[in-house]
């Protein structure tokens, strides 16, 4: 079987829950599409850093004739130039999650909105707390995603009387979140709510709060729509009644949309913004994928 | 010392020369341990000044004080009348005083030439001038009779060659005072002769030489004056011509001395305790077959580099080797390793006590019992009390001069390290003992103790193989001598055939059992008559 269309997919390596989900969905898409369209070859490549991602772009474009590239860039600034390089060979470019600094490079853009993840959570929380209270925040690994979420969140909070008591890195790691939350609890006798900017960390937070048997904490919120947390939402948990989706499956959608360019369906171009609506007990079912690792 | 004797005549009494260096009331203490107290010494240009004393008397310490390696706790140094203090050995070297250490101090990973020129590399422009350094190193090595090549990696050289490299290093520049701390302990006779010539050459050039050795014959032929140390104190300084070897020895130990070598034993014909057939050691020995019987001391002679150490290390499974058969105590050993040999009753004492013998950073007790852990501690748990008892016994039995039982092994004097090593080996209660250079660095008083010890062991029905580069020792001790050359056993001497001439002849050119020129047979001189 000759495959005459090559689509490269470049994504971050599975280093924590969310990127793990991305890899999972990308591999799913690869299997499904290669089975359905024998003329399409999907080449999947993961990278553990921006540098490695640039390297793999170079490798892919130097050794194959790429018809399309689907990329979830580590950072915008660092990947813009290299992706531009790939495009100059006539490759169709689909960018997922984070836009490039030069938006003219991307033919198709499936955007996540990290600022909205932070902002929507903050709005909901401000409502529930009546615009006042004391909260603590856990942030992830110092990267653009993390920065944007925190930015979205703190801009909204800044307009209320809610005080952010503390904000520290927990590297999107359950253990570190657990440890950090224990320390927050030791340090502050009263905490009204916790926000961990990712559900992975939220699990650690919840464990620490349970252990301390503290009932001052009214809300423990995360983001990203991790399977375990959506289960909590579905069970109408009082402390974690919502989450925000940031589905790693966006990579799969993007791959399908890109394939659409080549298999005779209506070609799609432009930007598709994934919103970050609140996941509530009412709509949780829609966001629940029991088979996904995330 | 064979070649020394006829040179002794050339030595003549000289007029007292100018004093270069003077030590006034030098003392050194480590914490509460005083190792040297109130030593006063004058060192003169164009003179060879020997320092003698028992193991642990403080000779090395005194030399380290004079050469800036160690700072005194009391006392003064005067150089050409000017008081001075060295911050470190480099300052002392700049002032013209250099020490050739008892322990070999070289960078193993560097080449011979790189070591010799370390710290004073020759340069051409920005670059080091390797060609010039290699050339000069080659000249220097040839002059002192070393066959090492400038480009050899020092770590790959045998001990003797490393010692010569160390000496070459010291002789590179013009010095006022050159100190040799037991330079000949690891050298063979011809190398010793070459070195002594070099030292005499230094004297001719007006250099002041300080010389430490336990080989009193060397002292007698070489030195102009002799200073005796005992227990860290100065006993006195005498013109060498006024002392004979026996007097020197008695000044050192402070009592009358027994004669050196025990009487030889009657030949036995019992089954061998160890018999080796066709042992082949990779890059070492070829087709070696030998046996040693109970009640016998087997000597292993040969020039340095003839492969004696390799042969034995191969036998012990420490190097890759093959053998048709190795039988110890009637047991055929199929898998040779130090542990299995030890179990069968065979142990080996290395010539390289610093690199392969002792854990210099560890205390005495762990060192002593390392090989005999099972014997000292029958249970899994360590029996500290038994270990301490063993240490006390070893210290007494082997006369290890140590002022604290909790010292690290590296802080013992060289000779006492050797005694500790011997004690460690005997902890396993072996029936065959192979000793590579048994008395390296051991003082004359203790030498006879070690010989007696070997004798007693053998008389009790055990067997001993002695590798020695000291001809006299070999001749005085062994009932039978195997001579090796270029990895092969080329001669077997027994009974009356054993003399220095025969050994040397076989080691250099001889055929089996042939009798060479009987050069200097002193074997009877120090033998006990009873």
């Amino acid at each position: 079987q000759e495959s005459d269309i090559t689509i490269a997919v470049s994504i971050p390596a599975a280093t924590h829950g969310w990127t793990g989900g991305v890899v999972y969905h990308a591999e799913q898409a690869e299997k499904e599409i290669e089975a359905a369209f024998p003329n399409i070859d999907i080449v999947l490549s993961t990278a553990s850093s921006a540098t490695a991602q640039v390297s793999s772009l170079e490798d892919l474009s130097a050794t194959r004739d790429l018809d399309a590239l689907v990329i979830l860039p580590f950072t915008s600034e660092e990947l813009t130039g290299p992706v531009e390089q790939v495009k100059s060979n006539g490759t169709f470019i689909t960018v997922v999650d984070r836009g490039l600094s030069d938006t003219s490079v991307q033919d198709l853009y499936v955007a996540g909105d990290n600022i909205a993840v932070g902002a929507n959570t903050a709005h909901w929380l401000a409502d529930q707390l009546g615009g006042e209270g004391e909260i603590v925040v856990l942030r992830g690994i110092p990267t653009v995603i993390d920065d944007e979420r925190i930015q979205g969140f703190s801009e909204v909070i800044a307009e209320t009387d809610i005080e952010i008591l503390d904000i520290q890195y927990a590297n999107w790691n359950q253990d570190e979140a657990f440890t950090l939350m224990q320390d927050y609890l030791a340090k502050y006798p009263n905490i009204d709510a916790v926000w961990a900017n990712d559900d992975d960390m939220l699990l650690g937070v919840i464990e620490a709060v349970d252990q301390a048997e503290r009932d001052d904490i009214k809300f423990a919120l995360g983001g990203n729509g991790m399977k375990e947390v959506i289960e909590l939402v579905m069970a109408e948990d009082e402390r974690t009644p919502i989450s925000t989706p940031y589905p790693p499956s966006m990579i799969k959608s993007a791959i399908y949309m890109t394939v659409g360019q080549f298999n005779g369906q209506a070609p799609m171009r432009g930007s598709f913004l994934l919103d970050a609506p609140l996941i509530t007990p009412e709509n949780a079912e829609q966001f629940y994928f029991p088979d996904s690792p995330f | 010392m064979n070649s020394l004797a006829h040179r002794a005549a050339t030595k003549n009494a000289r007029a007292p020369a100018a004093e270069v260096l003077r030590a006034e009331g030098l003392s050194k203490a480590y914490g509460a341990i005083t190792v040297l107290s109130d030593v006063t010494l004058d060192i003169r240009a164009g003179e060879i000044h020997a320092i003698i004393g028992e193991n642990g008397a403080g000779k090395s310490t005194l030399m380290k004080l004079l050469s800036g390696h160690v700072t005194p706790t009391a006392g003064d140094l005067l150089m050409e009348g000017q008081p001075l203090a060295f911050a470190d050995s480099v300052e002392a070297e700049n002032a013209g005083i250099v020490l050739v250490h008892q322990e070999i101090l070289l960078a193993d990973d560097l080449t011979v030439a790189e070591n010799i020129f370390l710290g004073r590399e020759l340069r051409r422009g920005f670059m080091v001038d390797d060609r010039a350094m290699n050339r000069r190193a080659a000249e220097l090595l040839a002059r002192i009779g070393s066959v090492a090549r400038p480009r050899h990696r020092v770590g790959d050289l045998p001990l003797a060659q490393r010692q010569l490299v160390q000496i070459a290093r010291a002789l590179l520049d013009e010095r006022k005072v050159v100190i040799f701390d037991e330079p000949t302990a690891v050298l063979a006779n011809d190398e010793v002769a070459a070195l002594l010539d070099i030292i005499r050459g230094l004297r001719e050039h007006g250099v002041a030489v300080l010389y430490i050795s336990h080989r009193l014959d060397e002292i007698q032929t070489l030195a102009d004056r002799v200073t005796v140390l005992r227990d860290g104190r100065m006993i006195g300084t005498w013109p060498a011509a006024e002392l004979n070897q026996r007097q020197m020895a008695e000044l050192m130990v402070g009592r009358e001395l027994d004669m050196l070598y025990p009487n030889k034993r009657a030949a036995t014909s019992e089954e061998p305790l160890l018999s080796v057939t066709d042992l082949e050691v990779d890059q070492g020995a070829q087709k070696a077959s030998f046996a040693v019987r109970p009640g016998e001391v087997l000597g292993l002679g040969g020039m340095i580099g003839s492969g004696r150490t390799e042969l034995i290390e191969g036998l012990m499974g420490l190097r890759s080797s093959q053998a048709a058969s190795v039988v110890v105590n009637g047991r055929e050993i199929s898998h040779r390793s130090v542990a299995s040999m030890m179990e069968a009753g065979l142990v080996y004492l290395t010539e390289d006590r610093k690199g392969k013998g002792l854990l210099l950073d560890e205390k005495l007790a762990p060192n002593l019992t390392l090989q005999a852990l099972e014997a000292v501690n029958p249970a899994t748990i360590l029996d500290r009390r038994a270990e301490l008892a063993a240490l006390r016994k070893a210290v007494a039995d082997y006369d290890i001069r140590v002022r604290s039982l909790t010292l690290e092994a590296g802080k013992l004097s060289g000779g006492n390290q050797q005694k500790l090593l011997l004690a460690k080996l005997m902890m396993t209660d072996p029936s065959v003992v192979i000793i590579d250079e048994p008395t390296r660095g051991i003082d004359i008083g203790n030498k006879s103790q070690i010989y007696d010890f070997i004798d007693a062991m053998v008389r009790a029905g055990k067997a001993c193989i002695v590798i020695s580069s000291e001809m006299q020792e070999l001749v005085g001790l062994a009932d039978r001598v195997l001579v090796m050359r270029a990895g092969r056993i080329v001669a077997e001497l027994s009974g009356g055939e054993i003399n220095e001439g025969n050994v040397v002849y076989a080691a250099t050119s001889g055929a089996h059992g042939s009798t060479g020129e009987d050069l200097h047979d002193h074997s009877g001189r120090t033998r006990r008559d009873s």
């Binding site: 599975a14 280093t15 924590h16 829950g17 793990g20 989900g21 999972y24 904000i167 520290q168 890195y169 999107w172 359950q174 253990d175 440890t179 950090l180 224990q182 320390d183 030791a186 340090k187 992975d200 699990l203 650690g204 464990e207 252990q211 301390a212 399977k227 690792p293 995330f294 | 914490g31 509460a32 341990i33 227990d231 420490l318 130090v338 542990a339 040999m341 080996y348 290395t350 690199g355 392969k356 013998g357 854990l359 950073d361 560890e362 762990p366 019992t369 390392l370 090989q371 852990l373 099972e374 501690n377 899994t380 748990i381 360590l382 140590v402 002022r403 604290s404 909790t406 010292l407 460690k424």
Partner: protein
């Protein structure tokens, strides 16, 4: 003369060494004292128990690392190995839970020990039989174990079966007479480790190998076996750590145990074990692990540094602590 001078010298020698050995404990004391000054909550029993309990993992692994490092080796794979062992253990427990109920936990724990020991054996054999730098080998196996856990969890998380959760939870959160179980387990591991290192023939041989492998070989010590065993002990410690770890968060993820290897080595070295081998200090390693955990805790409790700079301050404190030790103990 030998006997006359000996007693004085012995006593002196002993005192000096004791003082240097105490350094990590003094450092720990000073940091705890600073913690108390900075934030009154620090000394609350809840906080202290938290800190001590969660230092259990690093401490247990550090005990094993003390063996490896004093034998002259190094193990960079412990963090990944821990994640891998955790993953295997959870999969085993989940698989056995339907048929064996709570017994699946015990069987899973057994599997964790076996797998940990085997991982250590693998490291040890490649290092000793293959005669390759431990740094390279364990860097390689670090990648391998990490990849395995990522593969096993599909890049996501590998949670323990709900039915086992409640039964298993107390192993981390429970206590006996007020002392949390992980602390008790740690204490047992430390005592066992100290016994093995200081009181047995094996410990003696291990130290001799680290001090000078050539001397050990010439003394009939089976150097390869002693070294390999050190890695096996390290693996078993990782297994024990995994057993304490799972009940805490109930899952293994690809980030489990990340960078623990560096923390472990730091704890061991702060504790006074020589990185070049030949001297092991089990209790020092315990103090080292506590120092790291307390510093992290104090950093969060104090309000003084920007979140961006926490890592800088931690790094600086460790360096300063070592410097202070150096300059006080060298007088």
């Amino acid at each position: 003369m030998t006997t006359a001078a000996a007693p004085v010298a012995t006593a002196e020698e002993k005192r000096r060494i004791r003082w240097a050995d105490l350094a990590p404990f003094i450092a720990l004391g000073v940091i705890v004292f600073i913690g108390i000054l900075i934030n009154s909550n620090f000394a609350s029993s809840a906080n202290l128990i938290n800190v001590i309990t969660r230092s259990a993992f690093i401490t247990i692994i550090a005990v094993g690392a003390t063996f490896v490092i004093s034998s002259g080796g190094l193990d960079l794979s412990v963090g990944s190995m821990m994640a891998f062992v955790t993953g295997i253990m959870i999969m085993t427990m989940n698989g056995l839970a339907p048929s064996y109920g709570s017994w699946a936990i015990v069987m899973g724990a057994g599997v964790a020990l076996v797998v940990g020991g085997l991982c250590g054996l693998f490291n040890g054999l490649i290092i000793t039989v293959g005669r390759i730098e431990p740094f390279i080998v364990t860097l390689g196996t670090m990648g391998i174990f990490r990849a395995f856990i990522t593969f096993m969890s599909d890049g996501g998380s590998l949670p323990i079966d709900r039915s086992l959760r409640e039964a298993y939870r107390p192993v981390y959160f429970g206590d006996f007479l007020g002392i949390p179980y992980p602390v008790l387990i740690t204490l047992a591991v430390v005592l066992l480790g100290a016994f093995l290192l200081y009181r047995t023939k094996y410990g003696r041989r291990l130290t001799s190998v680290g001090s000078n492998a050539e001397v050990a070989r010439f003394s009939g010590v089976n150097v390869s076996r002693v070294r390999t065993l050190a890695y096996v002990i390290q693996g078993l410690c990782v297994g024990v750590a995994a057993i304490c770890y799972v009940p805490r968060l109930g899952a293994a993820t690809p980030t489990t145990g990340q960078l623990w290897e560096l923390q472990v080595i730091t704890a061991v070295v702060i504790g006074g074990t020589l990185l070049r081998g030949g001297r092991g200090r089990i209790w020092g390693s315990v103090a080292g692990a506590l120092i790291l955990e307390v510093i992290a805790n104090v950093m969060v409790l104090s309000d003084m540094v920007s979140e961006y700079l926490v890592a800088a301050v931690q790094g600086a404190i460790i360096i300063i602590a070592m410097l202070a030790h150096r300059f006080t103990s060298s007088r």
